[in-house]
């Protein structure tokens, strides 16, 4: 296993301001919550839309996720990750909860007679946004199997056994490709955590 870099001064790119805002939210500051909303509602909604697809349901899940951020802000621990990641973890969890029940999965299949999520879905949303540009570039540096596995799991909301089924690939292979791919992304994106 690779050593993970850590230590003071290495958290460049981390939005300290967001950490501070979330601390205020935990104390019931609604203005701070609105500021957090303004920063993160876009990524939260965009991520949920990718997983859930249906617009009305995505709005509902977005509301649930952001309300959970409000409600549980006191449980955010800056020592365990950034505020943005804490929020995105909640959002992704809510989104997969919505699509992973058997009934929901059947519904989703009916509703989305579309091709599976692939890397071009990143390209389409990667606007002039620098972060998006960087992510796209880093995704482009992965092998096809790594990239497909990661996007199906994260944007598609599939479990890794489902990803393995979709890609007709062995379970263990998908598991390690996702890990290898993410480590490569991490190093490419300069994530220091």
């Amino acid at each position: 296993m690779r050593a993970v870099r850590s230590g003071p001064g290495l958290e460049e790119g981390r939005d300290q301001d967001l950490d501070r805002l979330l601390g205020l939210v935990a104390r019931g500051d609604q203005d701070a919550f609105e500021a957090v909303y303004d920063r993160l509602a876009g990524p939260v909604y965009g991520l949920i839309r990718k997983v859930v697809r249906d617009q009305a349901q995505s709005e509902e899940v977005t509301q649930e996720a952001l309300l959970e951020v409000w409600r549980t802000a006191s449980r955010f621990d800056p020592g365990r990750g950034s505020a943005a990641t804490w929020v995105m973890t909640i959002a992704h969890r809510r989104a997969v909860d919505r699509v992973r029940s058997a009934a929901a999965a059947a519904e989703r299949e009916l509703r989305t007679a579309q091709p599976l999520v692939t890397d071009d879905t990143v390209a389409e949303t990667a606007t002039a946004n620098l972060e998006a540009e960087r992510v796209r570039r880093c995704l482009g540096g992965l092998t096809e199997l790594q990239r497909e596995s990661i996007t199906l799991a994260y944007y598609g909301g599939y479990t890794y056994p489902e990803v393995a089924g979709l890609l007709h690939t062995a379970l263990g292979t998908v598991k390690t490709r996702i890990r290898d791919g993410l480590i490569r992304m991490r190093d490419c994106m300069g994530v220091n955590w």
Binding site: L67, I150, Y160, V163, L182
Partner: protein, 253 residues
């Protein structure tokens, strides 16, 4: 299923993407508590995944912001988790509602500021009997909110309001409340239904809104596949829905 230590280590990636479920997830979480390098790796990979979310940003419609801010104004926040020796908390039915809001219970609870003081304050009860029955109702509601598996869900209603439920599969009960529903003429009422695959059951009438919200209504006897729904019916209610529901929520119990 058995997993070797090596297998567990390699789950960091799929765990960071929330792509592992069930017993494998439980096992890995157990392992994580002991494996510091795994924890560090999961954190760095979760930060990486956040980059993927940022790249997918899409502005939500303005109504989402309105609803979220309105909901947060009436939603009680969890107190911080405090490290101290845990002791089991049992629901004590004779205790006043306020006693149930100890941090440990509240931690397990998904709480809209609903239950608190609810019927007691808002509805203007007069007799001792009414007070007792309201208190019993509050305690039943608090038990649902305090259930370890309590889960909160919200949906927009077709008439511009928001319905919120807290559901517990263990208790077999759901607490239902609303905000922003239009006031109805005296000849009409909002009626709550449990809608299961086999049949639709009455689940009570919503009290008239006070300060834009309806006091929580408790419905029991949930069965697998139930949804809750609300229709507008003639005053007094009906035995089966006669209008299109203003909201339906699958409870996933």
């Amino acid at each position: 299923m058995r997993f070797s230590r090596h297998d567990l280590h390699t789950l960091t990636g799929v765990y960071a993407l929330d792509a592992v479920d069930g017993s494998e997830r439980d096992l890995f979480e157990h392992h994580l508590r002991r494996c510091r390098p795994c924890g560090n790796e999961v954190r760095s990979l979760a930060e990486t995944a956040t980059g993927l979310a940022m790249a997918a940003a899409l502005p939500p419609p303005p109504r989402v912001k309105e609803r979220v801010l309105a909901a947060c104004a009436v939603t009680r926040q969890l107190p911080p988790a405090i490290d101290r020796p845990s002791r089991p908390v049992r629901w004590a039915p004779r205790q006043a509602l306020r006693r149930s809001w100890t941090p440990r219970l509240a931690a397990a609870v998904a709480v809209v500021s609903l239950a608190v003081a609810v019927a007691l304050g808002a509805v203007g009860l007069r007799t001792r009997q009414e007070l007792d029955s309201a208190r019993a109702q509050d305690q039943a509601i608090a038990a649902v909110l305090a259930a370890p598996d309590a889960r909160i869900m919200s949906r927009a209603t077709t008439d511009g309001g928001t319905a919120t439920v807290v559901v517990s599969r263990v208790e077999g009960k759901v607490v239902f409340t609303t905000a922003g529903l239009p006031r109805l003429p005296a000849s009409k009422v909002y009626e709550l239904w449990l809608m299961g695959p086999p049949k639709i059951r009455r689940a009570g009438l919503l009290p008239s809104p006070a300060a834009g919200r309806t006091a929580p209504v408790l419905a029991s006897g949930l069965v697998a596949g139930d949804s809750v729904g609300v229709t507008v019916e003639p005053a007094g209610g009906t035995s089966r829905p006669t209008t299109a529901p203003i909201v339906v929520m699958a409870l996933r119990v």
